[in-house]
């Protein structure tokens, strides 16, 4: 299971390995990884081999984030409010993968309902980073990132509302791809913030990401925001030809001079990024530094919280424990719902609901929600203007390698906040965006991100593929560092 999808497919078709053996290996590895890093809500012991066809995914195991509905399989959203919920239907993306013979072997832990970036708020506990178990995986696709990095299988499904695929991929040294909004149907994905939610995948190579999304995407009558992408062939389009492609990076985020008292890790991360810019140039691409209004960038984290909280508050009002979920106690329906929601939601979710509710009050909408949506447009327009000149934007992911589990996210220094959160712009605009590993700091992986214009996924993946091919981090499996 430490191989790429192409390699596994070749082994299967040449009878060097059977689908049954792959399933057995993935299940065995699932138990090992769960014991060490707590990556799974459910391990599917009953998973069975499938016939190997021409489809590259046939006969190969994979993981599903636990906010995808899976028929007759527990689907919790990593929340106590759904700890016993078993859907009677599959999410469209899952159904499409099952139809080509892909084999789910586990459901992975997330931050509760995807509303977190640490991998620490799932109802089954903290997910640990397989490179260093004292560090976080980031989130919300924490278990998926952990499992793929640990070599349980070549890919796992994720969802991305702010950076929930791309940040954990970075912290775990793997690839995280969020396609253009609506390319993959959201039907059956537990909604968090519907105008930002995107289905995607975590893999160990760019080509694997292309293969998986080719099989997940498509117009779905059950998701009115999905669109016809039958003209897009991600895997076939990857040729690594990037000569004369134009990229840009943002000075305000990438210059060390912009940070007061930068940590050694941040310095190394940004130096490493600059080296990768030179690598892009060596590959024949043109890379330019551009400048963005700092005021717009500074507003970003709060704009994201305002929009996502408002949408989430509305989306999750159906979690009452009455028609599904564990029943609360009380002498009337209101008390029962109150008990269910009070006990079921974690403190993080509760505070986001309250903030969302305040923002949605009629008298507050103009100042908070509408202004946040206005900044969203200004940022997206700025990015779209850049895409008139540049094929993609290349930026470092986060301020360095994975954070320690005991370091609260809130303790991050104020001036690295935008560097930590800039991937959210990809969700504001629905842009295709991919994170690939680009180096190591103190034996821990760091990453860069490539984001392009809507519907330009082929171009984004091709640039990522060219860079990946010029670096030694493709298909890497986590090697846990020693603290002795």
């Amino acid at each position: 299971m430490d191989k790429t999808i192409e390699e596994l497919h070749e082994l299967l078709t040449n009878n060097f390995v059977t689908s049954k053996e792959l399933v057995e290996e993935a299940l065995k590895k699932s138990y090992e990884v769960n014991k060490k890093y707590n990556a799974f809500v459910t391990i599917l012991d009953e998973a069975k081999e499938t016939p190997v066809s021409e489809n590259l995914l046939s006969g190969i195991p994979f993981g599903i984030k636990d906010n995808y509905s899976t028929k007759d399989i527990l689907s919790t959203g990593s929340s106590n409010t759904l700890k016993n919920y078993v859907p009677f239907f599959n999410a469209t993306a899952v159904e499409k993968l099952l139809n080509v013979g892909a084999i789910p072997v586990n459901k992975t832990v997330l931050d509760e309902f995807g509303m977190g970036g640490t991998g620490t708020t799932g109802h089954t506990g903290v997910v640990k980073n397989p490179w260093d178990s004292t560090r976080m995986t980031a989130g919300s696709s924490a278990g998926s990132a952990c499992a793929v990095a640990a070599g349980v299988y070549p890919y796992a499904l994720g969802s991305d509302t702010g950076d929930s695929i791309r940040k954990p991929a970075a912290y775990c040294g793997i690839v995280g791809y969020k396609p253009t909004y609506g390319m993959v149907s959201r039907f059956g994905l537990f909604p968090f913030a519907s105008s930002l939610d995107t289905c995607g995948v975590l893999t160990r190579s760019v080509k694997d990401a292309a293969i998986v999304i080719d099989n997940m995407k498509g117009l779905d009558k059950l998701d009115m925001t999905s669109w016809d992408s039958s003209h897009i062939h991600l895997y076939q389009s990857i040729d690594g030809k990037v000569e004369n492609k134009k990229l840009c990076y943002i000075k305000e985020l990438c210059s060390i001079e912009n940070y007061e008292n930068p940590t050694e890790e941040l310095k190394m991360h940004l130096e490493n990024f600059k080296e990768k810019i030179k690598l892009c140039e060596k590959l024949g691409m043109k890379v330019e530094e551009i400048s963005i209004d700092q005021k717009l960038l500074d507003a970003l984290p709060s704009v994201y919280v305002a929009i996502s909280c408002a949408e989430a508050t509305s989306n999750m009002s159906n979690l009452t424990g009455i028609i599904f979920g564990p029943r609360g106690e009380g002498k009337n329906v209101t008390e029962m719902m109150m008990d269910h929601r009070t006990k079921g939601f974690s403190p993080l979710i509760k505070r986001r609901f309250v903030i969302g509710s305040y923002i949605l009050q009629k008298e507050n909408q103009e100042r908070y929600l509408k202004n946040a949506q206005r900044v969203r447009r200004l940022l997206v327009d700025t990015w779209k203007n850049l895409f008139k000149t540049y094929d993609a934007i290349i930026l470092p992911v986060g301020s360095g390698p994975a954070k320690h589990l005991d370091a609260s996210k809130d303790l991050l220094t104020k001036d690295t906040k935008v560097l930590e959160e800039h991937l959210q712009i990809g969700n504001f605009g629905g842009f295709p965006s991919i994170t690939i590993p680009d180096g190591f700091i103190n034996d821990l992986p760091v990453a860069l991100n490539i984001t392009g214009n809507c519907y330009d996924d082929e171009n984004v993946l091709n640039i990522a593929y060219a860079l990946e091919s010029a670096m030694p981090y493709k298909n890497q499996i986590a090697k846990e560092i020693s603290h002795e």
Binding site: N84, Y85, F88, I323, N332, Y358
Partner: protein, 101 residues
């Protein structure tokens, strides 16, 4: 300037049918203070009020209304599968009309 007070937080939580501990109440206030401060700066952006709020990420998004065709709905058995208390084909809840409860 915020009118976002501890009492208001509890009031909103009550409407959302969630109970907050004093610590959780304080966490909400602290987080909101940062949002309020940052969105205050947004007011200073030139001509911000002239910008059309963006509610959806695909600006070329089009959709057509489906034909109103009756399709099979889910079996009641499936719909009730995740409900902890049912009676026959119905969800069981305490009486909500015609009494104290």
């Amino acid at each position: 300037m915020s009118r976002f007070t501890s009492e208001l937080v509890d009031e909103l939580a009550e409407k959302l049918l969630i109970g907050l501990s004093p610590e959780e109440n304080k966490m909400v206030l602290d987080e909101f203070a940062i949002i309020d401060e940052n969105l205050q700066k947004v007011e200073d952006i030139e001509n911000i009020k002239n910008v059309e709020p963006m509610t959806h990420c695909l600006d070329d998004f089009t959709f057509s209304l489906r034909e109103d065709v009756v399709t099979p709905s889910i079996p009641i058995k499936d719909a009730l599968k995740n409900c902890e208390k049912i009676e026959g084909r119905e969800v069981e809840v305490p009486k909500v009309v015609g009494g104290e409860n």
